[in-house]
C-alpha cells in the first residue's frame, strides 16, 4: 500500500477524512498509525469500537511503538465500569454518546502532549452513527476540527466509504482539508 498521506500535508497540520470499506477499516487504522508514527508523530486514537487493549496489541504486532500512541477509549468502561485511566496511555470515557466527556478528554490529552508533533485519529465516525444522529456528529466534528485548528494539530477522521449520506458528507468535507478514499 503506498503512503496515504503527503508528508507536507501532515506538516501543514491538515485535517483528513479517510474512507475505507468496513472490512478494511481496522487495517487502515493500523497503516495510518504506522505511517504517521514513522514521521515522528504522536497519535491520540479515539476508539469507539475496539477496546484500547486490543488495538494496543494490534499496533504492537505491526511494529508500532507503544509510546507513540495514546488512547481515548469509549468502549471498555461500558463493560468494565471501574476501568482506571493510565496516564499517558489511555483515558476512558463512559460511552460513545458522552460527547462532553469526549471533548474534555481530547482537550486534556492534547495539552498533555503539547510539546510533541501530535496527530489525533478518530475511529470511527461510522461507529458513532450507531449512537448519535448525524446532526450531533456533525456538530461534534465541527467542534473538534475547530479545536485542532486552534491548537495547530493534525486530525484524521475514519469512516466507512459510501456510509455517509450526501448531507453529512458535504458537511464533513467542509470541516476537513482533504478527503482520501482508500477503498
Amino acid at each position: 500500500m503506498p503512503d496515504i498521506f503527503d508528508v507536507q500535508d501532515l506538516e501543514q497540520k491538515k485535517i483528513f477524512l479517510i474512507l475505507a470499506t468496513p472490512g478494511m477499516i481496522r487495517e487502515r487504522n493500523i497503516e495510518i498509525i504506522k505511517e504517521i508514527s514513522a514521521q515522528g508523530y504522536h497519535t491520540v486514537v479515539i476508539t469507539t469500537n475496539f477496546p484500547y487493549s486490543i488495538l494496543a496489541k494490534l499496533y504492537a504486532q505491526s511494529g508500532i511503538p507503544g509510546e507513540s500512541v495514546t488512547f481515548i477509549d469509549a468502549v471498555t468502561r461500558n463493560s468494565i465500569g471501574n476501568a482506571q485511566n493510565i496516564p499517558g496511555v489511555v483515558r476512558y470515557i463512559n460511552n460513545p454518546t458522552n460527547l462532553t466527556d469526549m471533548g474534555i478528554a481530547v482537550t486534556e490529552v492534547l495539552h498533555e502532549h503539547s510539546e510533541k508533533k501530535i496527530c489525533i485519529m478518530y475511529d470511527s465516525v461510522s461507529t458513532m452513527l450507531i449512537y448519535l444522529s448525524s446532526a450531533n456528529i456533525s456538530k461534534f466534528i465541527h467542534f473538534v476540527t475547530n479545536k485542532l485548528r486552534l491548537m495547530d494539530v493534525s486530525g484524521i477522521f475514519l469512516a466507512v466509504e459510501k456510509g455517509l449520506d450526501p448531507m453529512l458528507m458535504t458537511q464533513l468535507t467542509t470541516f476537513v482539508d482533504k478527503v482520501i478514499d482508500t477503498a
Partner: protein
C-alpha cells in the same frame, strides 16, 4: 288558401298556449288579458284566476318592498323606451316556491288600447346550475384562476385567496397578480419563458412547479395545470394550482429520515460483522485474552441493541408520519 280571422286567432292562441315560456298580454295598469299554459304551470295560477285583473302581481311579488323596487325599476326603464329586455325578477309561486324569471316585453298595437306582450323565461334551473358550478369552482380545494385573452384575471376562487392571501377584489380584472406572486424579476422571467415554451409546444402545461410568494411573505410550492377553455373564437385559460408545499416538506423529511436511518443501520451492521470476524480471527490466532473476547462481544451486543432501538425509532417515526398505514400494520410497526 287565406286563413280566416277565426283560424288565425286559433293558431295564435295555440302558439301562445303551447309556448315553453310564460306569455302574458297586459293592458294598461298591468291588467292581464292573456295568460298562457306555461304561465299557469310556472306560477301555479290559472287563467281564470288571473285574467281581467292586475292582482296577480301582488301575488307574484308578495313582499311589498321588493314589489316597489321592481315597479320603480320597470317605470325607470319605460321612461326611456317602451319595452324592457332581460329584466330578472324573483316571483313567488302559488305553492310558495321562488322562481327566477327573465322578462322581455314588447308593446303591441291593438286598436285604441295599447297592450304589452310580456314573455317570462323561467331561468331558475339554469341559475341554480350556474350557481352550483360557481360554488364548485369557488369551494374547490385547489387554486382556480381563469384568465381572459390579455391575461386579465376573470375568476379567482376561495382557495386562490387562501393560498396566496390575495382576495378576488385585489385580483379580478387585473393582470398584476403574477408580479406579486413572483416578485423576483429573474425568477419571473425564467418561469414565463418556461411557460411560453411549453404553451408553444402543447397549448397547456401539466404539473409545472413554481414557488410563489404569498401576501404574508411565505413561500409556497404550487403545482400548476392549465387548459384552454371556450368556444366561438373566444378562449380563456384556466389555471389550476395545487399547493404541494406540505407534501414537499413531508417528502423531504421522509427522505432525510430514511437516509439518516440507512446510514445508522446498514453501515453499523457492516461494522459489527467486520469486528466480529476480525475478533474471531484474533481468537484463532490466540491474540485475545478471555477478558478481551468478552469486551468485544459485549461491545458488539451493545451496538446490536442500539441498532434495534434505532430501528424501533424509525418504525415509530414512519407510523407517526403516515396516518394512512392500516391499523394492523401500525400496531406491528409500533412494536
Amino acid at each position: 288558401m287565406e286563413k280566416t280571422n277565426e283560424q288565425k286567432s286559433s293558431v295564435e292562441s295555440g302558439i301562445l298556449d303551447n309556448a315553453l315560456v310564460m306569455i302574458a298580454v297586459l293592458e294598461e295598469r298591468g291588467r292581464i288579458v292573456s295568460w298562457n299554459h306555461a304561465a299557469e304551470t310556472i306560477t301555479g295560477y290559472s287563467q281564470q284566476e288571473v285574467i281581467g285583473s292586475n292582482l296577480i302581481w301582488k301575488k307574484l311579488y308578495p313582499d311589498k318592498d321588493y314589489r316597489t323596487v321592481i315597479t320603480l325599476k320597470i317605470a325607470g326603464i319605460l321612461k326611456t323606451k317602451n319595452f324592457f329586455e332581460n329584466l330578472e325578477t324573483t316571483i313567488r309561486t302559488r305553492s310558495g316556491e321562488s322562481r327566477t324569471i327573465l322578462w322581455n316585453t314588447k308593446k303591441i298595437p291593438s286598436g285604441d288600447l295599447p297592450r304589452t306582450i310580456t314573455v317570462g323565461m323561467d331561468v331558475t334551473n339554469e341559475q341554480e346550475a350556474m350557481a352550483f358550478r360557481g360554488s364548485i369552482i369557488d369551494n374547490a380545494y385547489v387554486l382556480i384562476a381563469v384568465l381572459g385573452p390579455l391575461g386579465t384575471i376573470l375568476v379567482w376562487n376561495k382557495a386562490a385567496e387562501r393560498i396566496t392571501g390575495y382576495s378576488p377584489e385585489e385580483v379580478i380584472g387585473r393582470r398584476d397578480i403574477w408580479k406579486k406572486l413572483y416578485p423576483d424579476a429573474e425568477y419571473r422571467r425564467a418561469i414565463t419563458q418556461k411557460i411560453s415554451r411549453i404553451i408553444f409546444e402543447s397549448n397547456y402545461f401539466e404539473n409545472l412547479e413554481t414557488t410563489i410568494l404569498t401576501k404574508s411573505g411565505d413561500r409556497r410550492i404550487i403545482s400548476w395545470n392549465t387548459r384552454q377553455i371556450g368556444a366561438g373564437g373566444i378562449y380563456h385559460e384556466i389555471a389550476i394550482g395545487r399547493d404541494i408545499s406540505e407534501q414537499r416538506k413531508a417528502e423531504e423529511a421522509l427522505i432525510a429520515y430514511m437516509t439518516e436511518m440507512t446510514m445508522r443501520l446498514k453501515q453499523p451492521v457492516g461494522i459489527i460483522s467486520s469486528t466480529l470476524l476480525e475478533s474471531a480471527q484474533m481468537v484463532r490466532e490466540g491474540v485475545l485474552t478471555t477478558e478481551e473476547i468478552v469486551l468485544v462481544l459485549e461491545g458488539q451486543a451493545r451496538n446490536a441493541t442500539q441498532i434495534a432501538a434505532n430501528i424501533q425509532e424509525f418504525q415509530t417515526a414512519i407510523v407517526d408520519r403516515d396516518r394512512s398505514i392500516p391499523e394492523a400494520y401500525r400496531k406491528f410497526l409500533e412494536g
